[in-house]
Symmetry: D2
Amino acid sequence: MSTDATPTYPTSLGTSTAEEIRLLGHDVAHDLMGSVGLGELALWLMTLERPDPSEVRLFEAVLVALADHGFTPTAIAARLTYLSAPDSLQGAVAAGLLGGGSRFLGVTEDCGRWLHAALEERGGDLPEDEDGWDALALAAVRRTREQGRYVPGLGHPVHKVRDPRTAALFRIAEDEGLLGPHLLLFEAVGRVHEQVLGRRLPLNGAGVCGAALADLGVPVDLLRGPALLARAAGLLGQLAEERRRPIGMDAYLAVDRAAVYVDPSA
Amino acid sequence: MSTDATPTYPTSLGTSTAEEIRLLGHDVAHDLMGSVGLGELALWLMTLERPDPSEVRLFEAVLVALADHGFTPTAIAARLTYLSAPDSLQGAVAAGLLGGGSRFLGVTEDCGRWLHAALEERGGDLPEDEDGWDALALAAVRRTREQGRYVPGLGHPVHKVRDPRTAALFRIAEDEGLLGPHLLLFEAVGRVHEQVLGRRLPLNGAGVCGAALADLGVPVDLLRGPALLARAAGLLGQLAEERRRPIGMDAYLAVDRAAVYVDPSA
Amino acid sequence: MSTDATPTYPTSLGTSTAEEIRLLGHDVAHDLMGSVGLGELALWLMTLERPDPSEVRLFEAVLVALADHGFTPTAIAARLTYLSAPDSLQGAVAAGLLGGGSRFLGVTEDCGRWLHAALEERGGDLPEDEDGWDALALAAVRRTREQGRYVPGLGHPVHKVRDPRTAALFRIAEDEGLLGPHLLLFEAVGRVHEQVLGRRLPLNGAGVCGAALADLGVPVDLLRGPALLARAAGLLGQLAEERRRPIGMDAYLAVDRAAVYVDPSA
Amino acid sequence: MSTDATPTYPTSLGTSTAEEIRLLGHDVAHDLMGSVGLGELALWLMTLERPDPSEVRLFEAVLVALADHGFTPTAIAARLTYLSAPDSLQGAVAAGLLGGGSRFLGVTEDCGRWLHAALEERGGDLPEDEDGWDALALAAVRRTREQGRYVPGLGHPVHKVRDPRTAALFRIAEDEGLLGPHLLLFEAVGRVHEQVLGRRLPLNGAGVCGAALADLGVPVDLLRGPALLARAAGLLGQLAEERRRPIGMDAYLAVDRAAVYVDPSA
């Protein structure tokens, strides 16, 4: 923007005239409504490339895997917010999404980013066979541990042996011909990490989702995005249930009644 | 909850064991991933009834219609939040959704609620033909105007003659055999309102979406919910674009540089 | 804004030049920092009139009364959000404030608004003595009950006989010569409501805060504002404690472990 | 929490009985309301030590310095959210606070954290005179630059020569006998950085606030907290002004009308 001129604001997304509403250069009413699903549209909006049906199927599978995990901290936070402010559904959804940070929803992002960095370091040249992927994975896991950091996407507090979403997502990706470099590298991490860590951990569902999203072309800085979209759907389910069969008041009272005062100087 | 016992928390949504993750009583990895889309899952979570393919198509069309409308206040708010706090994608999405209130995203809810109330007042007995729907619509529009209130879903600041989404959604609903009472009543409002208001206004897209959602079984208190889900996808598009081709800084500076101090006592 | 000219944006708040930062027309560094407290500044920003020390004392007392009520739903929501996203303190504070809606923080607003409406109906002419205030209160309580609505500010789930904040705030207002029409009318409601409701309820703390804020000139549409500001301070305390002595994980696990699956068709 | 027992939730903050409301072990109605201001309470809640009047004055000066900076991205985001959802004041405040992240409000945290780390590295042993502080500052600035990182708290886009808040805050701290190690080190950074950076930059207001907060005992992980509290007050001023003299619609239309469609494949 030059300071002496009125700025203009470039966009490739929604525009409209009196007659027509366009999105990504397409006529929303004629070309998109009825033909495109929300998942497909979301991926398209993030990558600016229209996904093909295989990519849509893989992407929707990721979204379904991430949508709801029951009484998570974010689901409870959304329900408690709805209890306090039932007039503002958007506030309850927003409160739930605000938990989508480094710790609970962050594994998807961290894992995609870690895989991406490992591939970047190698440049464009990819391994040709399983041994090659294993060697790349082993080097990346070693380097990460030497830096005193965790390898993201390994282990799960509940699914200690195997996370059922992992096999499902690999199978769908394979069916659709979409086993890209991030998924292949993640699979190799599953084979080799025991050599470095000294114990076998399952590849977790959040991690494999990050790998798949990176293969689908979602920019690494936005990997948290699809998790937030998926969670928005899950939160609507949680809030619909809170309306039908509330638990927020009980959950709040259970904490409040078990409060124990501790002297602040203790 | 009895006060002397540990509370339990009933839910029909996500549960998991070491071996399995379930959602709505189905195995997520085997029955849902790869078979169900996010839109379908969201509707199912809100209504607790698995939608059939026709219902999914109509619901996805509503979501696509509501996903992105370009540089809306909520899109700009999300971009400005991302500019200030790029480390927290969830905060930028949440800020955008917080504009999903009475004024901009509210028409969908207001319209569905208005149609629902008009049908409720009549009890279960629905009109049998177009004349019957027209009479019902006319009575409802009259009553609303006599109460000094607006009829929601009529008129649009840009699409002054016709909103292209309206015809598209009616066509899809008709194709799928899903012209339910809310859509039929809304269509009748389109035919008769001129008799009361003295001028012809288009049925707007947000309104027809509210009618369709109500026909799809979304509870009236949650009608804002699908709009929020759709908008979450749109906001990911806006934030992906802000990352690629930012406008937030220019939009902010355009306001800041044109600030004019006014004496507070003026 | 005319469409053919660059808009300008009037403001009486913050402006700055290379040399100086101004707020409300005052030099921030020389006139405000060190002389004005945040409470004083907040009231000034909302009313555009610089409060005198008596008004500041009453306003700060309201803020202190509303800052923290222990393990409220909003405090728990903020802690759960911090647990999930410890990298984003702003998200945890925002999540806590989003519960500041109609149900938990709303009494302050509802009560101030109710008192304001009762005074408005009467016009500028105020009662001259206690009997006059009682008559006005009685009429307003009667009318509200006849409309099937609740009188806000009466009763409290814990403080069933008296809310200790109520007497404290009336005492401070009296000391400072600030018993204005909203507080006087609220006091009269305390004396007369039993005649209509058939039982004696305490004037609650949230209600008396709403009355005091209205007397201090806070616009009725913004009465929720000071409660949000006060709560922001309380939430910082909650989050500081969550950091030192966390309860979020336990509160979450207590819900998750007591989850009981219910068939959705039940 | 043991898994076989009902958990208890320790807290030193708000508790209440039918007769009494306590906060930090004090009777809210008798000991706090009318005696303590919100700023004082906030600092107390974060540090668990009751601040003395000097500390309160310095803390309030920090809050006033950070409360409002006019049409910032966060202020505009809050106004646009209020425009879209005027029914939810809490949503507009929350949206504004969500911009309190790494880029705009983050300098306060970054600077306090940087100073804290430099002092930590040295252990408990502090310099005895200005030369000692200068040596410590010089080493810290050098190390930071060698790591390719910025020294936080230096420079300002508008206040290129001096930030008027900096001198004001140093003066208040000196008046109150509160020039602690973080402020002394920051002052030394101001004297020595030119030797490393090759040009003279002003110590900015956000940075000096971070130094003062660290000296006041605010934990480094919560340094963003007071900035959020201060900003909550500023946002109430922005929203009060948006109600009186709105600019949100014009700001939105100025962007929307200057939108230029760009082919997504470009």
